[in-house]
Symmetry: C3
Subunit: 102 residues, 3 copies
């Protein structure tokens, strides 16, 4: 099996402020990244220390969101460069990984 180097990226948002549509449109239409998955957390807190939670009784509209994607390192590098203008410092995390190839 051959393998390929990629950069894995996770972007941390919360729903209340999440320009999610706009970011997905950029990743989908402009950067044409290999694939994107969005996850919703059940609770969390950020720099403010304020919790973003949900309970069964109270469907919160301010839950944590994570946008995850991976692609070739050079491509991801220029995407992060661009996202840095749109996302607060410390909210984009990335690391090197491998993917399977045929």
């Amino acid at each position: 099996m051959n393998e390929l180097a990629v950069t894995m990226v996770r972007i941390y948002l919360h729903e209340a402020k999440a320009h999610l549509k706009e970011l997905l449109a950029y990743l989908h239409d402009d950067s044409k990244v290999h694939g994107v998955t969005v996850f919703r957390g059940i609770t969390g807190f950020g720099n403010s220390g304020r919790y973003h939670s949900s309970t069964l009784m109270d469907v919160s509209l301010d839950l944590p969101l994570v946008i995850e994607f991976y692609d070739e390192p050079e491509k991801v590098s220029s995407i992060i460069e661009e996202l840095n203008n749109r996302i607060k410092p410390g909210h984009i995390v990335w690391w090197p990984a491998k993917i399977n190839t045929p």
Copy 2:
């Protein structure tokens, strides 16, 4: 505290095509991996560019799924080798990590 090297793995599927049961059975019964967690995304898109989303109104049956596990590097290496026959290229991602030991 001692630590141990592992390989972290994430496999990207979507529900409509997800032979999830079959893959979990392999990981659970045959490969006997340390532990597995499956996450469901709230939206995403793959190589096709087609979105896999849900809304409150419309419970989609085609959401993104991620199967995550970690174990010793040699063991994971042979698991990835086997999974490569079952999973599309570029849909298995892995990287080195550490775990806590007593």
Copy 3:
């Protein structure tokens, strides 16, 4: 763009045993980590091999939980040291990553 080295951490629990509140209180109040997100898996199994699942019909109270956070390597190192007293061996996973800075 400048970047900063961090350590990414994921802690694997399941709801039935999850001293989640206690752990979040520690991370929020004592360790004052940069930010934390908690995810709930839809199924999974641990060392016991026993599945922790949910179905639409049966809202399980024993689903997998992941607590995720990242911060400066030295800070995370001492947090892991402390968490190691509270979390079973092999259930804290970490790896080096980068974050965006202004």
